[in-house]
Assembly symmetry: C2
Homo-oligomer: 256 residues x 2
C-alpha cells in the first residue's frame, strides 16, 4: 500500500496546509508613520498591495469566468453566509475553500529535493497563471450533508481529444475534489485508488460540476463517490469511486 | 458508454493524427529566386528557419533531461534501428513515437468551439514549453511484443503532495500511454475506464518508467495493463487496468 511522505501529505497540502498559508502570509502591517506630501502618503498606502506577500486565492472569480461558472459560483457562495430573521448574518450550509499555487515551502517534506526544484515547485492544478487557460475551479463543502461540489471551467490548454478535455485533466480534478473531501471527513489521508468510468467527453471551454459524496468509512478507509456532469446536471460525463487511507498526523509533521 | 467526437477521437489525435501533422507541416520550399547581396542571400536562406511551420517534436532530448532520462531514452532509441551482419541498417524491435503540442486544427471536430479556443488549444501534456518544467516524456512501441514503454521525467510544475507528483499528473501519463498503446493495437479507440492503484508516491524531479501491455481483446474492447516503476524497476509506484472501446473510423472523419 501507499507509503512515504508524498501521498501521505496529500490531504495536508490540499486542505490542512491552506490555513497555515493564510496564517503565515498575512498582509504586511500598514502602521507606518508617514509625514509629508499626499503623493508620499498615497505611495506608502499602496505599499501593502505592491509588496504584499499575500498569495493569490485562485478560487475567487476572475475575468475569464463565463456566465455558467459565475452562476454556479454565486449559487453556492450565496449559501456560505445567510441572514437570520433578525437580520443577523451567520454561517450557511456551504463553505468556500480557498486555493493557492504554492505549498511545498510550508511543508516539512521535500528535503531530498534540490533547492531549485523546491523553490520553483507549483501545485499541478494551479501552475498556469493565465486566467482561463487551464483549470479554473472553486470548491464548496457542505459538512452537514457530507458533500463537496466543485465548479470547473476547462481552459484551452487542457486539450486531449480534439476540442475536448484530456482524460488526465478530468482525472486530476476528480483526484483533487475527492481528496479534499476525504480530508475534510477523515483528516489526513492518501489516495489509494481511483476507478474512473468515462461516459461522455467534456468540450473544451465548457463548465462542469463535480459532486463528491461519502459512501462509507471503515477503519482507516474512506470511500468516496464522484460524478462529473454538465453544469445543469443533465449530462453525465464521468462516474468515479475513490478510496483514501487515513494516515498518522505525526507523519506529516515529521516528514516521514 | 462514452459517445461523441471527443473521446472517440482520442486514438486519432494521439497517434493517427501525428502522421497527418508531419505531412501537412513540411518545411516551406527554399526554391526562392534570389539575386543581390550576400546579406539578402543570407536572409533568404534563413527564412525557412525563421518562418518554418515545422512543429517541435517534444519526444526528442532537450537540455532539461537528466542522466536517468537520457540513459533510458538511449537504451530504447538504440533499438529502433539495428545493424545486420552485412553492415546494413534495418528497423529494430522498438519504434519511437513523435509528440506535438497542437492537434485541434488538424481535426475535423471542435466546430462548436469558438475560434479563439480552437486557435489557442494545446495538448494537455505539452502545454508548457519551458523544458523540464512539466511533462518530459518519450514513448516507444514494440509491435512484436505488444508492449509500449514511456520514459517520464516529472517537472516541478506537477506538484501534488509536497515534493511529489500530483496523482492527476500520474493519471494523465497513464491515460496517454495506455491510450496510445490501445490505438496501435486496435485502431481508433476511446477510453472507457481507468482503474488506478497508487502504491507509492513519485518524488518531483525524478524519472520513472511506464510499461503498458495488452491483457486481451474482446470484440470492441481492448484491455491494457500499465505499471509505473522507478527508473531501475525496483520500486512500484502505481498499477492500472484500462479499458478502451474501438470506434468507427468514419466518426473521426465526419466529426460526429
Amino acid at each position: 500500500m501507499a507509503r512515504g511522505l508524498g501521498r501521505i501529505c496529500k490531504g495536508f497540502q490540499r486542505l490542512g496546509s491552506l490555513s497555515s498559508i493564510q496564517t503565515q502570509l498575512r498582509q504586511p502591517s500598514t502602521s507606518v508613520s508617514v509625514r509629508g506630501t499626499t503623493l508620499i502618503r498615497t505611495m506608502v498606502q499602496a505599499l501593502p498591495t505592491l509588496f504584499s506577500s499575500k498569495p493569490r486565492d485562485f478560487s475567487l472569480p476572475n475575468s475569464s469566468w463565463g456566465s455558467e461558472m459565475m452562476q454556479l459560483y454565486e449559487h453556492y457562495n450565496s449559501q456560505c453566509e445567510v441572514e437570520t430573521e433578525g437580520g443577523e448574518k451567520q454561517e450557511g450550509p456551504w463553505r468556500r475553500l480557498p486555493s493557492y499555487n504554492r505549498l511545498l515551502k510550508y511543508a516539512t517534506g521535500g528535503v531530498h529535493l534540490s533547492k531549485i526544484i523546491q523553490s520553483k515547485a507549483r501545485l499541478f492544478t494551479r501552475n498556469i497563471r493565465d486566467p482561463g487557460a487551464a483549470f479554473e475551479y472553486v470548491l464548496f463543502v457542505n459538512s452537514e450533508e457530507q458533500k463537496c461540489v466543485c465548479v470547473f471551467q476547462a481552459g484551452h490548454l487542457l486539450e486531449g481529444p480534439p476540442g475536448h478535455v484530456h482524460g488526465g485533466a478530468i482525472a486530476t480534478m476528480i483526484d483533487t475534489v475527492t481528496g479534499t473531501h476525504a480530508t475534510i471527513l477523515s483528516g489526513p489521508v492518501m489516495t489509494a485508488n481511483l476507478n474512473i468510468n468515462y461516459r461522455s467527453p467534456i468540450p473544451l471551454g465548457s463548465t462542469v460540476l463535480l459532486e463528491s459524496s461519502l459512501d462509507k468509512k471503515e477503519g482507516r478507509k474512506t470511500f468516496i463517490s464522484c460524478k462529473v456532469t454538465s453544469s445543469d446536471g443533465s449530462k453525465l460525463h464521468t462516474e468515479t469511486t475513490a478510496l483514501f487511507l487515513s494516515i498518522n498526523f505525526s507523519h506529516l509533521l515529521l516528514g516521514e
